[in-house]
Structures are given as C-alpha cells and as structure tokens.
Amino acid sequence: MKDIDVLNSLRKDILLAAYKSGEGHVPSAFSILELIFGFYKQLHSDRKSLADTVTTDKFVLSKGHGALALYAVLSEFGYFSKDWVENFAQEDSLFGGHPDWLKVPGVEASTGSLGHGIGIAAGMAYAQKIQGNNSKIFCLIGDGELNEGTIWETCLVANHHKLSNFIVLVDQNHSSDRAIKTEPLQEKFRSFGFLTKSINGNNFDEVKAIYADRSEYEAPRAIIAETIKGFGIKEMENNPEWHHKTPDAKTFESFMDQLI
C-alpha cells in the first residue's frame, strides 16, 4: 500500500474511534499524523522486528491530546490490534483521551498536561548520553504548548548538555495564534542553541526525510513542521469549532467519503 493510502486509512481509524466514542481531539490528531507515522515507519524499517531492542530511537508525544494519531499509528505497526477503535476513551478501554505508557504498548510517556513530555524526553535523551548510546529521542510538541515555560527551560538544558540526540518536532498548526503568537520559531530555537529546519509537516516526503537523515549533529534540533489542524477534512481544517468535537452520523459518513 502506498504511504498516502495508509495515511488515509489511519485517518479513517481516527475518525471511526472518535465517532464511536463521541470523544477525541480529531483535528489535532490529523495535523500530526504524518509526523508520527514517519517516525514509526523509519523505526520499523531499521528494526528487524518488534522484539528488536537494539534500534532504540524513541518517540514522546508531549501534546497528549493528539493521542488518536498515536494509537492509529501504533496499531498499524502491530503494537496492538485495530480493535482499539471500538472502545476508545470508554470505561473499559486502555486507550484514553491522553496516552498512558503503563496501559498502551509502544507509548513512551503518559502525557496530557502540556509542557511535561518535553522534559521527560530530554531526560530520556540524557540517559542515552550517560550510557554512551546513539539512540535518538524525538519529542512532538504543539505550538500552543510553546506557551509553557518548561518548553524553554528544557531548551536551555538540552543546549547546555549538548543533547545532539534530542529532536523537538513542533506541530506548528497555528492553533495558538489566537492567544499568544509564537513566531518566528526558528529564530527562537536557534537563540537557544538548537539547529533548526522548517518542513511541511503534512507532506510525507518532507517528513520521511527528517527521520531518514543519518547525519551526525553537534546540537539538539528543532523541526518546525508547518501543519494544518484537521488536515484531510475540509470542514475541519483550521476550524476551531472542531477542536474537541466529534461528528454525528451524517457528518461522519461525509467525512469518511473525503478520505477515500
């Protein structure tokens, strides 16, 4: 199956889970889907199997409300079955509105409170440094999350300790523009000692290239991924009404048709 078809299929899984449960941050999941899928596709092309613990690059979803995208991707790569869509965020489910690493295979950190995951990820990256490992730790944060002071504290720390295995992916879907404007982001991260690059985060070819990059860097990196919140469904794209809204039956059918 082509990547574009897999991504469409995953968007359907996300939409179905949200529709069945009446819960979920669908547009946030849609803006970051390529970024998460790209990480695990690269990881599993490097790994021989799920049991391969030699290739240990890790991914932390700091913007935990994008959990639907993480579940869809982890399920695609065999961490658990596709049945997760049946009871997402229900009382008997392992799959909550924010990810819990103690419940969901493949999840690296329990997030939801913004500004925590990045510090956790930096600690994980530092742990690799102590052990002399080459493993990279990727951490996906939201642009709204950039309002949190801990983001910039962590940048100070990452730069101070030269965490060259620490890569921050910023989901720049501009959801924060209505509150605090965060741009220019590359300049901000550069001033904290990061190497930076801007990509179209919904263009899978550009996303793939980030994970395929085997260059050795001397500093932590920030990838500013310009994305569209709700990418793939025209009615949702950049429409704040859909931030934490799920479709009714008629709208669900209409949205599914757009993903064919």
């Binding site: 500004g115 600690g123 994980m124 742990a127």
Partner: protein, 294 residues
C-alpha cells in the same frame, strides 16, 4: 542532616552507577567533588524545578535512579504537578530531598517556608514521605529506600532529636508506656514531646515515616483512645491516615502543629515556632484538655 546528605549521596553516586544527582542550584559546594568526579551523573541542574522533575522522570523511565534536591517550597509546591504526573501517575521511582522543612529558613520569610509540603504530597498516593528526626535516621531511610522504584520524599530539617530511632522498614517506635493518652511524635518533634511530657503518664509513639505509616504499632497501642498528634508541618495533616487506622475505635484526636496561615514574620526558627504556638506550654495545655476529655 545536610552534611550527612552530601556524604551519603556522594557514596551512593560512587557505588551505584544507576544513580543521578540533580541539584536545583542548592548544595552545590558540598557536592563539588561528586560533580567533579562524576560530571555526567551529578550536576547543578539550575533553577528550573518543574523541568528538573520532568527530566528526572525521563531518567527514571530509562532505568536510572534520580536524586533531586532543592528547597522544599520550590521542590514540592512549584513542581507539584510534575511530581504528581511524571512520577505519581507514571509510577516511576525517584528521590526528592528537600531542605527548609517548615520554617528553617526563618529569616528569609514566607517564600522559603513550606509547612504544606507533606499535606500536598499525601495527595499523591504513590509518594512515600519520610520525615527523619536525626541525621542517622535519614541515612538509614535513604540507603534503605533510594532504589525501591517508588517516588520518595525526604524532608530534611535543621531540628534534630537527641534520641536516634533508626527504625528499618518504616516501623514506628514506642518511646514510653503510659495510660492516660498517647502522644504521636512525628520526625523532629520528639525533643519537644519528651520535654513537655516528663510528668505525664502518657504513651509516646514515634514515627518518622508518614507514608508508609506503621499501621501496626498504632493499632496495637493507643489503648486510651485519646491521641495527641505532634506534627512538624501544618497541623492535622496526617489525621486522615490516623482516622483510617482507627475507624472502628473512634478515638479523641487533638493536634499540635504549624498553624494554617502564611508565616509573614522573620527572626529565628524558634521564635517562629513560639509564634505558631509550637511550645511545651501549648503542648501540655492540649494534653490536659485531652486527658480530661470525657
């Protein structure tokens, strides 16, 4: 206790390669040799407590054992959510060692006082809470618990008891038998309790582990069903733990601890204790009321 903290932590860092020391720009001089010898596993993290705790949980996630140290209000109150979520919710092990206790930084004022630390941390069910009464007790507890894969808070204090109770496993100690009431002394309050109760026929039980609390020593004693709890933090902080233990015996419980207001005065720690009513006279008054209660 700070001296023994630097000595024993230095030893732990040297002997256990899974440990990492993170200092919130406090105690750095005392650890200068540790930092020099182990630059990757002992560091001055800087003044960013929330990130220091999240970072420590990332280390714990990767099987390291973090030892985090700074002043109590910044460690517990500023970074409370990180302790709750990154360690409590994620069920990761780590050691959080504070200085300042309730009012050890008496001359520095309200911002450096922290009588609410234990009460706040009791709201994180996974968090162990140790309030040593002496340096030796702290050393015993740290060596016993630092690698137990649980989040553990050690509350260091400038006040030290004259009697060491290096009880292992978090066990309480019966200091004295007595009939008329039971006085439960927590951590560094034992001197005050012993001084205040010399002429009283009361039982004294000493605890330096708030959680896990020694259920057994309490349920097997306290036969008078009259209990006075002496707490070095906000008064009535541990009452819900005591009430659970005695939920079928309905004891009369009185408390003496730090009053629940923000301390806005300066001076010595003893002067603040006096202002707070943390005195032998006040303790005896509470005890008289308790003993005479019907």
């Amino acid at each position: 206790m700070r001296k023994i903290f630097s000595e024993i932590t230095d030893q732990i860092i040297r002997e256990d390669e899974k440990t990492v020391l993170l200092l919130g720009d406090i105690g750095v001089f005392a650890f200068r040799k540790t930092i020099e010898d182990f630059p990757l596993r002992a560091m001055n993290f800087g003044i960013m407590e929330q990130t220091m705790i999240s970072f420590a949980s990332g280390l714990a996630k990767e099987k390291f054992i973090p030892i985090v140290h700074t002043i109590a209000p910044f460690l517990v109150e500023r970074a409370y959510e990180q302790l709750k979520v990154d360690f409590g919710y994620q069920q990761l092990g780590g050691n959080f060692i504070s200085v300042g206790a309730s009012n050890d930084y008496s001359s520095l004022g309200c911002t450096h006082h922290c009588p609410g630390d234990v009460g706040n941390l009791l709201n994180i069910p996974e968090m162990e809470i140790i309030t040593p009464g002496t340096s030796v007790e702290f050393k015993t507890a740290l060596l016993e618990r630092y690698g137990n894969n649980k989040p553990t808070y050690f509350r260091l204090s400038e006040k030290e008891n004259e009697i060491n109770n290096s009880n292992v496993g978090g066990k309480g100690v019966k200091i004295k038998n007595g009939k008329l009431a039971t006085v439960i002394a927590i951590g560094p309050t034992l001197n005050l309790v012993l001084e205040s109760t010399k002429n009283y026929d009361v039982e004294i039980i000493y605890l330096n582990h708030v959680r896990p609390i020694d259920h057994e020593i309490l349920i097997n004693n306290c036969k008078s069903n009259k209990i006075l709890i002496i707490e070095p933090f906000y008064e009535c902080t541990i009452n819900f733990l005591i009430n659970k233990i005695f939920e079928t015996r309905f004891p009369i419980i009185l408390n003496l601890g730090i009053e629940r207001n923000l301390m806005k005065t300066y001076g010595s720690s003893m002067q603040i204790d006096t202002l707070q009513g943390f005195t032998p006279k006040n303790l005896r008054s509470k005890l008289d009321t308790l003993i005479n209660a019907k």
